[in-house]
């Protein structure tokens, strides 16, 4: 079978990281081609090059054997390449038809009034292809996520798409909704479209894809026919090393309970959340995006009001009303959103680290600048932060080093309980391993760590116990021995735990 589209030896570098190295990828008509790899493996970068968001440093793209140049998203659209992003880009206050047509509503008459009826008819024809009952006149807001996803795909198809890229399309869908989406994908495949399916859920990949391409650290590991490979084989290709090497080992055993949370409730965010953290323990918190994990972290840190429940910290009940108070009780929270919630972009490494413990660096209300610089220097060396000086603006550091700066900020207050929210989001593998080693080290020293993460291997590789949240409630708890990706996902999807074995 001949390839419809080929990407040949694509390379792309960003400051400080080689995102793609000589990656080749091809698509055939009427196939679902899955693209898998860990976060940071280069899946998104490759697809952003195909859809014109990034330009490759090297390599070429061929369509039906002819080289094409894709410089901007419009070029990609002209060649019939459409991408449906993980986050939906719909106008929630407009109708399905208006969203499907975007700025290109069919017009009628000398003044080019919008022809709503024609739009509705065309949209309906499109939607009918999917066998889903959505009326073109419905306002987006009132649709389920899966229905919105279908609208998003229709938007791509109205532009005569020949290649459809689906980026983690099921990440916020229930299992039932996902099944409906798979039907849609099958229908499109029968119509002869090329479909790129990006997902970290291998069960899905094996359910609907024809071929699978595995990327690791920006390099192509291989392309396999799904029928001729297996999930464990693909995982081995994705990880490329034993899990234990990447996530490290820990000395020491969990000790006394330091944090007890009882029936903690924050209206609109989560309800009746109860758990305990022991000194020297890493507890993972898994769940889908929007399950309320970050909100639990923020509430414990005093940054989100709670309406009920009790928090016991180090042996006594505490009312934590502000991050300031939380820090005084030995709590630290590493935010999932470095850019907006953590970094002071126009300031240097020094100010970014010392913000948490200025009192200790001061005498009589004046900051002892020499002591501050020495402390900064100490943290830079301890966490191996790659920066030319203590005064370097954090805006100029790589994501991994920015994250280390914020970790240093929290380590400086010597927390008893450390909540880390997506601690390795958007950082390279090298820095990841360092952060994992650091978390182990802290746990070994007796810090209780709550690890909120959407990366399943990270949760499985680091946690002693795993809490799973679903729609604002704790759906279950698994020990390290019990936990598998499948069982976590089942709980996260809101279904009761399946029996072991």
């Amino acid at each position: 079978m001949n390839a419809f589209l080929q990407m040949q030896a694509i390379s792309k570098a960003f400051p400080g990281v080689q995102a793609l190295r000589q990656v080749s990828f091809d698509l055939r008509r009427g196939e679902v081609h899955a693209l898998v790899g860990e976060n940071g493996a280069g899946k998104s970068t490759l697809m952003k090059i195909l859809s014109g968001v990034y330009r490759p440093d090297a390599g070429q793209i061929l369509i039906e054997g002819q080289p094409v140049t894709i410089q901007i998203p419009r070029d990609a659209q002209r060649h019939g390449i459409s991408i449906v992003h993980q986050e939906l880009n719909l106008f929630s206050n407009l109708t399905v038809a208006e969203n499907v047509f975007g700025g290109r509503m069919p017009a009628r008459g000398p003044l080019a009034f919008e022809d709503r009826q024609a739009a509705a008819r065309q949209a309906q024809r499109l939607l009918d292809r999917f066998g889903v009952a959505i009326s073109p006149q419905t306002i987006i807001r009132s649709l389920s996520l899966a229905q919105q996803q279908v609208v998003e795909i229709s938007k791509a198809l109205i532009q005569e798409a020949r290649v459809l890229i689906l980026d983690e399309p099921t990440s916020s869908l229930t299992e039932h909704e996902a099944a409906a989406l798979f039907e849609v994908v099958q229908q499109l495949r029968r119509d002869g479209l090329c479909i790129v399916y990006i997902s970290h859920r291998l069960e899905e990949v094996f359910r609907i894809a024809d071929r699978v391409t595995i990327l690791r650290d920006g390099q192509l590991v291989g392309t396999e026919a799904v029928a001729e490979t297996s999930i464990p084989a693909v995982i081995r290709m994705m990880v490329g090393r034993q899990l234990a090497d990447l996530y490290g080992q820990r000395a020491g055993q969990p000790q006394a309970v330091v944090l007890t949370v009882e029936a903690l409730t924050s209206p609109g965010h989560f309800a009746e959340v109860s758990f305990q953290l022991r000194a020297g323990e890493i507890v993972g918190m898994a769940g889908l995006v929007g399950a309320g994990r970050t909100e639990v972290g923020l509430a414990l840190f005093g940054a989100l009001p709670v309406s009920g429940g009790r928090v016991q910290l180090r042996g006594a009940g505490r009312q934590i009303r502000s991050p300031d108070e939380a820090m005084r009780w030995g709590l630290a929270y590493l935010s999932e959103d470095r850019r907006n919630d953590a970094l002071f972009f126009n300031m240097g490494v020094r100010e970014n680290i010392s913000v948490s413990h200025l009192a200790r660096l001061s005498r009589l209300g004046l900051i002892d600048r020499r002591r501050e610089r020495q402390a900064t220097q100490f943290h830079i060396e301890q966490l191996k932060i790659a920066t030319p000086s203590t005064e370097q603006k954090v805006a100029n550091l790589s994501g991994g080093n920015q994250q280390k700066v914020i970790l240093a900020r929290w380590l400086a207050i010597e927390p008893k309980v450390l909540i880390v929210d997506e601690p390795t989001r958007g950082i390279d593998v090298g820095a990841k391993t360092e952060i994992y080693a650091l978390l182990h080290h802290l746990a070994a020293q007796g810090v209780a760590i709550l690890l909120i993460s959407s990366e399943m291997p990270e949760i499985l590789g680091l946690s002693d116990r795993i809490l799973v949240m679903h729609e604002g409630r704790l759906a279950g708890e698994l020990t390290r021995a019990e936990a598998t990706e499948e069982r976590i996902l089942t709980l996260a999807a809101g279904r009761s735990a399946i029996p072991a074995g």
């Binding site: 919630d341 970094l343 002071f344 126009n346 300031m347 100010e351 200025l358 660096l361 030319p388």
Partner: protein, 336 residues
């Protein structure tokens, strides 16, 4: 030490505290921005010295110095407001209100030692209202302080009935008119305050928090900084300083004028921006702002000495404000 230095980029020498402290002190004192303004001031002064013989007389320079006292006092506080990412348009009207209140209290027979603190408390109420609305209710600072500007000026007119108040006691007038070692007392006071405020803003723990709040409010909150308290304190401080400027103005002129301080907010904000404060927050120094005030004062003095009609002054200061902000924006864009 040598081993450590080898690991870093050459020439940075971050491990040598003595040398790097010296370097950074030098860098901070004559930071590029401040040095630039000093040069502009020198050029403007030189030009004036050659074109008008009256400029370089001790009489004129003394008048310029006294003239910039009130702006400099407000600029000390306005710098902090701007660093926090805020804005205060009510300073001119607070100046007038405080000038009127202190005169009124003195007329009622209170001693200056009582009247001055009471006046500062009255001024602080305006700042408290500003601060509470901005920090707690999250009303836009521009709108809040614009509203308070209107309320405060109107209040001054109500208290005074629209007439100036004179015949103030001599011991009160000494504050604005007296001299020490041949230098006006108010000028000495400003020099001292600016020096202290500049050092404190660079070194005091509580004032560092303002930079964090202005740099990234959400991150500041999640780093344990009581953002609301910081914001409220800044607006209270700003009003107190504007009130103090009003007291000095009344003392210097020997009368309280209901329309005093008109346009002070624009002059001072221009001066701060010229001096390196950013309207986006997170940046600024007291020294820079003082240099900005000095530059504005010299330009205004030059216009007077060159017999340019007073009616032109607004055009000039408005143009300078826009030029300074434009420069700030272009500079920012180049950096990013």
């Amino acid at each position: 030490m040598t081993i450590q230095r080898d690991r870093r980029a050459p020439g940075l020498a971050v491990t040598d505290p003595g040398r790097s402290a010296g370097q950074s002190l030098l860098r901070q004192i004559v930071g590029v921005r401040e040095l630039g303004i000093v040069l502009v001031i020198a050029v403007a002064a030189t030009l004036l010295a050659f074109t008008t013989p009256a400029f370089l007389t001790s009489q004129n320079l003394s008048a310029v110095a006294i003239g910039l006292v009130t702006d400099a006092l407000i600029a000390i506080a306005m710098t902090k407001v701007l660093i926090s990412g805020g804005f205060d348009l009510s300073v001119g009207s607070v100046l007038a209100l405080a000038g009127m209140v202190v005169a009124d209290l003195l007329h009622r027979g209170l001693s200056p030692l009582v009247a001055i603190p009471v006046t500062l408390v009255v001024a602080s109420v305006v700042g408290l209202v500003n601060g509470l609305l901005i920090a707690k209710v999250k009303v836009n600072p521009l709108i809040t302080t614009l509203g308070m500007m209107s309320i405060t000026s109107s209040l001054t007119l109500v208290i005074s009935g629209g007439y100036p108040v004179s015949n103030l006691p001599a011991d009160f007038l000494f504050l604005g008119q007296g001299s020490l070692w041949g230098v006006p007392l108010a000028v000495l006071l400003v020099v001292g305050l600016v020096a202290v405020a500049d050092v404190l803003l660079r070194r005091a723990r509580w004032l560092r928090l303002i930079y964090y709040v202005g740099g990234n409010e959400r991150a500041a909150l999640l780093s344990g900084i009581p953002v609301d308290v910081v914001r409220i304190a800044i607006y209270v401080f700003c009003s107190v300083m504007a009130g103090f400027a009003g007291i000095i103005a009344t003392s210097r002129l020997g009368s309280a004028f209901p329309l005093a301080g008109r346009g002070a907010e624009m002059r001072v904000i221009s001066a701060c921006v010229i001096g390196g404060s950013s309207l986006q927050g997170g940046e600024g120094t007291v020294l820079g702002s003082l240099l900005g005030v000095l530059l504005m004062a010299i330009i205004n003095n030059g216009l007077v000495l060159l017999n340019v009609s007073i009616n032109w002054q607004g055009i000039v200061s408005g143009a300078i404000l826009i030029a300074a902000v434009t420069f700030d924006m272009l500079n920012r864009r180049n950096r990013s």
